[in-house]
Symmetry: C2
Subunit: 339 residues, 2 copies
DNA sequence: ATGAAAGCGCTAACAT
DNA sequence: ATGTTAGCGCTTTCAT
């Protein structure tokens, strides 16, 4: 109470309650056999002094730290944050705290952070990233389990959790088909991105199931609005009768929407539009609001964290790649044609 | 080496090198007087076994933990992340690790996290938020220093670091004046937000200095594109001759840009446009790319962290509010009129 | 130049 | 029912 800037130790509580340290410990943890009166006296003293057991000291003894490291390369945070939150959900429930480390895509920094985390005896590490492109493993034979979330290790013995981009593409395709569109174009990001290729594959496969093909070849470009505008231009010029466009990202969809409107196409009456990411400010700000594929980033983080917890708990560590299903978010850009 | 899943202790290193624990410690820390040969033997053993000194044990002894807590209410992350990165910069340099806690705006959760952080003996706490609205103090008389970044405590004895919104508004105003516009309108967020009011004040004050007033009253609405569209509509209807619009956010500016274009106004030739936030995907995706005010969020985090470090180091804790200057980012939406 | 021992805050096993 | 002791991994006196 006197010096609020110093943490209170159990020794002080014991002294205040007039018992030994061991007794105080038992009283506070409900262990051992104590008289109710004693227990009450200790509890009261602890309360009065504002005692908070030192987690580190407890951990030192238990041989645990109840911490994990979260290493992210996605400084920008748009993808990592929801993943982190999901992971935090799962970990927080287990009283595990999370060390945040942002590598800024710098391998030196990353190495440095990993070392620091290991020195702090984290019990596990989650690696997250921007998009899902494969990346180098942070190292094998580490003394703690590692899971990759929203990024993928090139090492097959590592365990990664990523969104089901193929399924997401299929989801968009089936929805467009179900709402009566069959001439469907595709404008997406750079072909070098697996995510772009997988989403395109999901679309083409689902169309093939219905005996259809995409209207024109999928247009690979950039993850930008500007490319969306250009892509739509190319698509409309070649296929003026296109009934729907599935876009590889919400930003691209925004660009596509703009070009469509300028060309006098009404969304969704003339052309329906589906985005990818469910980046709310983008999707909601679109005119009309954008139907889009949500990758369930929180779920990805949660699943990754749960696997990490299991591994920490001694379960045989998982390996390979686990995909989490996407989910379609319906907004006005794909309202069924009022016919 | 044998069991990679267990961390190596100094005891094992000492045993391997055939010295006592104390000697091993000295050898590894360059302390004390040892023969070079001994030092080398210990170093080699440590290297071979993959020894990493346990930061927690070191801290237990030193009475320090070299950790701070970062509590954020901005689940969405758009504002918090850059602040975090700035803070991490400053802290990481000091070998301090950061515990991440997202409260999801839930006071119970927040309380819970604070308790957990204190139990972990963090040496300080940074509280960040969405926008800069004042919020309740996380508590006075806490055993560790606290700083608020990108949010403000209602308790004046707390210390907060926030952007200079007034200065940001003035920056936009002066830039528009300097590029030859004098009929300047303002479309911004809800009046209940201090940030909106301060930005408007910065604008009106700067215009007043030049003997001018805003074109029409500032239009307070929402922080959305939709409101930007509506606001521009209202503004254009009342003042068709407006030469520039300063917007309270980039999202609003996007909406304004759309309405302007639809009404046949060319940006920046007919009407110049300035946003606020420098939210890159929004600002760059705008047509034309948007001149906007950047709040230097990273700097805010850095300054907050530096003050925290100083307080941890024993400096008298700062109090009150510190503002960090904004910075204008020039893009094409305000190119000088080609006359 | 090296080793032995104490102690950081706490818990658990063992004495009393 | 309560107190005492050892020990988690490490650093730092103080002996030797």
């Amino acid at each position: 109470m006197s010096d609020p800037s110093r943490a209170v130790t159990i020794r002080e509580v014991a002294a205040a309650a007039g018992v030994s340290i061991g007794t105080a410990s038992k009283a506070l943890n409900g262990r051992g056999k104590l008289r109710d009166e004693t227990r009450a006296r200790v509890t009261a003293a602890a309360e009065r002094l504002g005692f908070r057991p030192n987690t580190l000291a407890q951990g030192l003894l238990a041989g645990r730290t109840y911490t994990v490291g979260l290493v992210t390369c996605d400084s920008f945070g748009r993808f990592s944050i929801p993943v982190m939150l999901g992971a935090e959900d799962a970990l927080g429930a287990g009283q595990i705290s999370v060390f945040m480390c942002d590598t800024r895509d710098d391998p030196i920094r990353e190495r440095h952070y990993i070392e620091r985390l290991l020195a702090r005896r984290v019990e596990g590490i989650i690696v997250t990233g921007r998009r899902t492109e494969p990346r180098q493993s942070i190292g094998t034979g580490l003394p703690v389990p590692v899971v990759y979330a929203m990024t993928q290790s090139t090492d097959e013995s590592d365990f990664s959790v990523i969104p089901d981009d193929v399924g997401g593409g299929a989801l968009a395709a089936r929805h467009l088909l179900a709402t009566g569109r069959s001439r469907i174009g595709h404008v997406t990001g750079p072909q070098r991105f697996e995510a772009a290729r997988r989403r395109a594959r999901g679309l083409t496969d689902a169309l093939a199931e219905a005996g259809l093909r995409t209207t024109g070849e999928p247009l690979f470009g950039e993850w930008t609005e500007e490319w969306g505008r250009q892509g739509a231009d190319i698509l409309l010029r070649a296929h003026p009768d296109v009934e729907a466009v599935f876009c590889g990202s919400d930003q691209i969809a925004r660009g596509v929407a703009e070009t469509l409107r300028e060309r006098g196409k009404v969304i969704p009456d003339d052309v329906a539009l589906v985005g990818f990411d469910n980046w709310e400010p983008m999707a909601r700000g679109c005119r009309p609001p954008l139907t889009t594929v949500d990758m369930n980033l929180g779920e990805i983080g949660r699943v990754a964290a749960e696997h990490l917890l299991a591994a920490i708990g001694g379960a045989p560590p998982a390996r390979g790649v686990l995909t989490v299903p996407c989910r379609l978010v319906l907004r006005e850009s794909t309202r069924a044609n009022p016919l």
